[in-house]
Amino acid sequence: MKPGRDPRIGTETLAAYLEGELTQSESVRLAEDLRQDPEAQRRLEQLRRISDVLRRQDSELEGLDLVYGVRQALLEPASPAWKHPARWLAAGGFAAAAGVALFAALRSPTVDASEFQARSAGTPSADATRWAGVKIYSSHAGAEPQLLQGRLSRGDGLLFAYTNLGAQPFDYLMLFAVGASGQIHWFYPAYEQLGDNPQSIEIEHGMAEVMLPQVVRHQYTPGPLFVYALFSRKPLRVLQVEEWLEQRHGQPPDRPPFRDASLQRVSVKVE
């Protein structure tokens, strides 16, 4: 078909057909027309070959890996395309530490996976919920801290590392536990004086495995203990959360008290 001639089946229509952009009825009709139009069939085949050629991988580019080149380019101090060469170095240093922490967690045995699920009260936090959580380590009698395995001795200390990634990361975190007798143990924020009403701690966005700096020790009652991580977008007060827990009459919560928050519950046994 030479350009300029007015074909019965337009080439643009054939292109739309090839791209699967016609409706089902249009496609059926076109297929019928094509059977009686060898010239249109030829044009369709040409279009198919063009798209195949354009999609084909190029041998000239086979085996090229840009990772090394990108890293080198980021390290070039005088490169006009890179105004902050130290960033890659700094990021690399931090990455090593953070990566080690993450990989350590990924390699470690998980804490009661069925319980280790953050739950969201509202859809807006769905993404953040997926990417927010804590890992808990126990410290026993001065030994090296270990990822919590579901059992805890009365005098053990607990350490926490939070992850707060996703498109809409959270802003605040509370860590507490509810013991067998209903007693509430606060880890973060520290709740040390009667009459105080401290609020959630602020957490960083886009961070993984951020280790909180303290080991917190409480005298737990032997029996089941539920450890909670409550992520939120607004700061919450300790008494506000205690009131919510008391309203549940001893039933351990499995959902957060507020919309757009996330609650992670870890079940352990105190011995």
Partner: protein, 198 residues
């Protein structure tokens, strides 16, 4: 209930051990956020996931492997530099190819490109007859592509070079999906006409 005074005891963090995580399981947005959070390997994973199509599109655009490699590399460097400002909306591909297109439009061949060309030439395998034929076909199509207007050409490249959907192309070029489709069908038809003439 009466809160009891509690005073935490400060000790050091737990010891770390090295290991590997399944970074390839993460989405593009997740990898960007992990890279921003300093997770080693996250950005490398992102590069390796997309480099093939980025290179292909750049190659189709510039018709030169060395030029394409430089443009692709600069694109990833620019993406890395923009990490702190990146907003995860599930549109990483559109974001990436927008940067790539801008790089293609403004990039020019440099002395460094020539050196890289030598490098690529040295690594190129000996071509079989079928490969020679395929290369010739590609050159013909690429020559036909050069006859299209920039608007039509970029839609074709994004669709076939980068495997983007019409919706992704529309987001990237900031035009309606219908316009993308119209340009696409016109472009393919024009390409066929051009090849028919030669």
């Amino acid at each position: 209930m009466i809160p009891m005074p509690r005073r935490p005891t400060l000790v050091g963090p737990p010891a770390d051990t090295a290991g590997e995580g399944p970074l390839s399981d993460h989405t593009d947005d997740e990898l960007m956020l992990l890279a921003r959070g300093g997770i080693e390997g996250a950005f490398d994973t992102l590069i390796r996931r997309h480099q093939q199509l980025v290179l292909r599109l750049a190659f189709r655009y510039g018709r030169n492997a060395a030029w394409a490699a430089d443009v692709a590399q600069n694109t990833f460097v620019e993406v890395y530099r923009a990490l702190p400002r990146y907003r995860a909306h599930g549109k990483f591909k559109s974001y990436l190819y927008q940067i790539l297109l801008n790089q293609c439009r403004r990039s020019r061949r440099s002395a460094r490109t020539e050196l890289r060309a030598l490098d690529i030439l040295m690594r190129a395998p000996t071509e079989a007859p079928a490969e020679v034929l395929a290369r010739e076909q590609r050159r013909e199509v690429e020559a036909a592509l050069d006859t299209l207007s920039t608007k039509l050409r970029e839609v074709v490249l994004l669709r076939f070079g980068a495997d983007l959907t019409y919706k992704e192309i529309a987001e990237l070029l900031e035009i309606p999906v219908g316009t993308v489709k119209r340009r696409m069908f016109v472009a393919i038809a024009k390409l066929r006409d051009e090849l028919e003439l030669t």
